[in-house]
Amino acid sequence: MSVTSERSADGQELTITIKGRFDFSTHQEFRSAYEPKEKQASRYKVDLKDTHYLDSSALGMLLLLRDHAGGERADIQLVNCNNDVKKILDISNFSKLFNIVITA
C-alpha cells in the first residue's frame, strides 16, 4: 500500500495514486497527499489503477478529499477504476459525487 501525489506543470491539478489496498491504514498518507504544501489545487485526480481493494473507510476518505476540494463544487475525477472498485463505488452511488472514469 502506498500513496503518491503529483502536481501538473501549472500547479492546478493534483493526481493522487493509490497502490494496493485503499483502507483505513492509508488514512494518514492519503490526507497528507492532498493537504496543501503550497497553494491548493483546483482539480483533483485519484488514480485507482493499482488499487486492488477499497472499503467503506476509503469511501470516507474520498468524502474528506471532496470536502477539502470544495464540497459540492469539488472537481474530482476517480480514474482507472477496475471492476471490483467500480462495483463498490456504484453501490454507494459515488458517481453522483465524483466523476468516475473507467480509463484515464
Partner: protein, 569 residues
C-alpha cells in the same frame, strides 16, 4: 527500558558448597544486587516462596533436593512471571545440560566463575525478565481495558436496546439475524408502525466499527421512530435522517441504509436504498425476484439541497417478501480470496423452498463458502401479512380530555411549491388528535386522510391515470410519472376543510378535500365491483369502508367524509 530501580535485583543463590556460595555471593553483591543463599534445593524453594527473588543461581547437584527439582518447583510458583534460573555447573555433558533446560533453566554458568561473564549473563537475563514483565503488564492492561470496554458496550447496548425494541421488530412477519453486538459493527435494524398501519423498516450500516460506528445509531433511531409515529412518509423521514446525520457526523462517516414502507392494506411496498447491497423483493407466485438496487448516495453525505428522497414503489401482496442485507454477505471472501458475490446469494434465494429458513440458508451457504461462520452480518426478511392480523397497538393517552375542543372549523390550502416537498398529513392528524373523541379512530382517520390526500395529489393535481397500475410494468411507470410531474409542478392546489360539531354527548367531524384537477366520474368509479386482485382502485374502497359517510361533488374534485363518535365513557 530498564529503570535503575529494577537494575538492583534480589538474587537467590543455591549451592551446597559453602566456599562457592560465599564467593558467588560476594561477586553478585559487588554487582549491586541483594543476595539470598540456600544450601540445598528444598531450602531454595522455601526461600523463593517467602522472598520472591527476581533471579536464581542454582547449583545442579545438591543434597536433599537437587537443582533440577528445585528449578521445576520455582518455575511453577513463578507462574506467568519470568524468574530466570541460571544453572551453576561444571557439568560438561550434553545430556546434563539438556536436563537443566528441561527443568526450566534459562542459562548456565560454568565453574570456575568468571565475574565478567556472570555479570553479563545476569544482565541479559534481567533484560528478558523486564521484557516479560512489560509484556505481562501490557497484557493485564489490555485485559482490564477490554473488560472495561465490554462493560461499556453492554451498558450502551442496553440503553440502545430500549430504543430499538420500542419498535415492532418482534412482529410475526419479520425474521432477522443480527449479531448481539451489531450496534458496534455499525449495523442498525429498526421497525415501527405508522399511524395508518403501515410498517416502516430500516436496515442501516454505518461506516467503521466500534464506538464511532455506534454513535450515529441513536439519533437515527430517534428520527425514524419519531417521524414514523407522527405519520410522516419515507421521503420526509429520509430527508430528516439525512440532514441530521449530515449535521452531526464527521465528513468521512455516513450510513448506508435501506428504508421500507410496507402498506399491507393497499398491498404496496415503497423502497429507498442508499448504499446497501441489492435487496430483493421475493414473489410468492414464482416470478423471478426483483432486485432492490441502491439508487442513492448513503445517508449523511449530501446536503439537504442535493439529497434525493425518491422512492420506488412495487406491488406487494400475499406470499411476497422483502429481503435486505448489510454488506459482509456478498463481499465475504473465501479461502482463495474469491468473493461470495451476488450470484451465489441469488442461487440461495432461488433454491429456497421454506421461507422460514431463508436466512439460515444464506448463513449456511456463507459458512460453507468461507469455511467458517460470520457473526457480523445483518439480514432481515419481511413478509406480506393481512393487515388485520397485525395492526399497530393502540395509542394510550394520559391527559383527561376536559380541555378537548368541540366546536370549530379550519381550512387549509396547499399550493404547488408546498405540494412538491411538504407532507401536511402528520400536522393535520396532530391537530385532530386534540379531539379526544377521534382518538379511538385515529388509525382509520389517518388512512382515509392519506387516501384522499394522495388521490387529490396524484389524480387531481398531477392528473395521473390510476388505470396505469393494472400491471407491474404500468405500476412502475405510474410512480415514475408521479415523480416527474411533481418535480415540475408549477400550479395547482389541495384544499382541506375540517368541521367539528358537537352532537349530543359525542360529535362529528366532516373532512372536505378539494383539488385543482379535472375531477372524475365518481358515480361510475364507485359503481365498479371492488377490484380485489387488481393493483389499482383500492383507495376508494378503503375510504368507504373506514369512514361513516363519504361522497364526491364538484364533478369528483371534492371529496367529503364524515367521522362520528359517541360520548366518552
Amino acid at each position: 527500558m530498564i529503570s535503575s530501580a529494577s537494575d538492583r535485583l534480589t538474587v537467590l543463590i543455591a549451592d551446597d558448597n559453602v566456599s562457592d556460595r560465599m564467593l558467588l555471593s560476594a561477586i553478585v553483591s559487588r554487582q549491586g544486587h541483594d543476595v539470598l543463599t540456600a544450601s540445598d534445593g528444598a531450602e531454595a524453594v522455601g526461600l523463593f516462596e517467602r522472598r520472591r527473588p527476581q533471579l536464581v543461581l542454582m547449583d545442579a547437584m545438591m543434597p536433599v533436593m537437587d537443582g533440577f527439582e528445585a528449578a521445576r518447583q520455582i518455575k511453577t510458583l513463578a507462574g506467568d512471571a519470568l524468574v530466570p534460573i541460571i544453572f551453576l555447573t561444571s557439568l560438561t555433558e550434553g545430556e546434563d545440560l539438556a536436563r537443566c533446560l528441561d527443568a526450566g533453566g534459562d542459562d548456565f554458568v560454568a565453574k570456575p566463575y568468571n565475574q565478567v561473564v556472570l555479570a553479563a549473563k545476569i544482565n541479559a537475563m534481567n533484560r528478558l525478565r523486564v521484557l516479560q514483565e512489560t509484556v505481562l503488564h501490557q497484557r493485564d492492561l489490555i485485559t482490564r481495558h477490554h473488560k472495561y470496554l465490554l462493560n461499556e458496550q453492554r451498558v450502551a447496548k442496553a440503553v440502545f436496546d430500549q430504543i430499538a425494541h420500542s419498535g415492532c421488530l418482534s412482529s410475526r412477519n419479520i425474521r432477522y439475524l443480527q449479531s448481539p453486538y451489531a450496534l458496534f459493527n455499525g449495523d442498525l435494524l429498526l421497525a415501527a408502525w405508522s399511524p395508518s398501519g403501515n410498517m416502516h423498516l430500516l436496515l442501516g450500516d454505518f461506516t467503521g466499527h466500534g464506538l464511532p460506528a455506534a454513535v450515529g445509531a441513536m439519533p437515527l433511531a430517534e428520527v425514524f421512530y419519531g417521524m414514523t409515529a407522527k405519520g410522516y412518509g419515507l421521503p420526509e423521514t429520509l430527508r430528516e435522517m439525512n440532514a441530521k446525520l449530515k449535521r452531526i457526523l464527521p465528513v468521512d462517516m455516513f450510513c448506508c441504509a435501506a428504508l421500507l414502507c410496507l402498506n399491507f392494506k393497499q398491498q404496496l411496498v415503497e423502497v429507498w436504498n442508499g448504499g446497501l447491497p441489492d435487496g430483493y423483493l421475493l414473489h410468492g407466485d414464482g416470478r423471478p425476484h426483483t432486485p432492490l438496487i441502491s439508487a442513492n448516495v448513503p445517508l449523511g453525505v449530501l446536503s439537504a439541497g442535493s439529497f434525493d428522497d425518491n422512492t420506488q414503489v412495487y406491488p406487494f401482496g400475499p406470499g411476497d417478501r422483502v429481503f435486505l442485507l448489510s454488506d459482509g454477505v456478498v463481499d465475504s471472501t473465501g479461502q482463495d480470496g474469491e468473493l461470495f458475490g451476488a450470484r451465489r446469494l441469488q442461487n440461495v434465494l432461488v433454491s429456497n423452498r421454506n421461507p422460514a429458513l431463508l436466512i439460515e440458508e444464506v448463513q449456511w451457504a456463507l459458512a460453507r463458502f468461507r469455511g467458517q461462520a460470520r457473526d457480523d452480518v445483518s439480514m432481515v426478511e419481511v413478509a406480506f401479512t393481512e393487515p388485520d392480523l397485525l395492526g399497530p397497538p393502540s395509542v394510550i393517552y394520559t391527559d383527561s380530555g376536559d380541555s378537548s375542543p368541540l366546536d370549530w372549523c379550519a381550512s387549509f390550502e396547499y399550493r404547488a411549491a408546498t405540494l412538491k416537498r411538504f407532507n401536511p398529513l402528520p400536522y393535520l392528524l396532530q391537530l385532530l388528535q386534540e379531539v379526544h373523541g377521534l382518538r379511538m379512530q385515529s388509525s382509520e382517520l389517518y388512512i382515509v386522510l392519506s387516501e384522499l390526500y394522495s388521490n387529490a395529489l396524484e389524480h387531481g393535481v398531477l392528473g395521473l391515470d390510476s388505470a396505469l397500475k393494472r400491471d407491474a410494468a404500468g405500476f412502475g411507470l405510474y410512480y415514475q410519472q408521479r415523480a416527474e410531474r411533481l418535480d415540475c409542478l408549477v400550479e395547482g392546489f389541495i384544499r382541506i376543510d375540517f368541521q367539528i360539531v358537537p352532537d349530543g354527548e359525542g360529535g362529528r367531524l366532516t373532512v372536505r378535500v378539494q383539488d385543482s384537477g379535472a375531477g372524475f366520474d365518481s358515480d361510475r368509479v364507485l359503481a365498479l365491483p371492488p377490484a380485489v386482485t387488481q393493483l389499482s382502485g383500492r383507495g376508494l374502497a378503503l375510504v368507504r369502508q373506514l369512514s361513516d359517510r363519504c361522497q364526491w361533488s364538484d364533478e369528483g374534485r371534492t371529496a367529503s367524509v364524515e367521522f362520528a363518535w359517541e360520548g366518552l365513557a
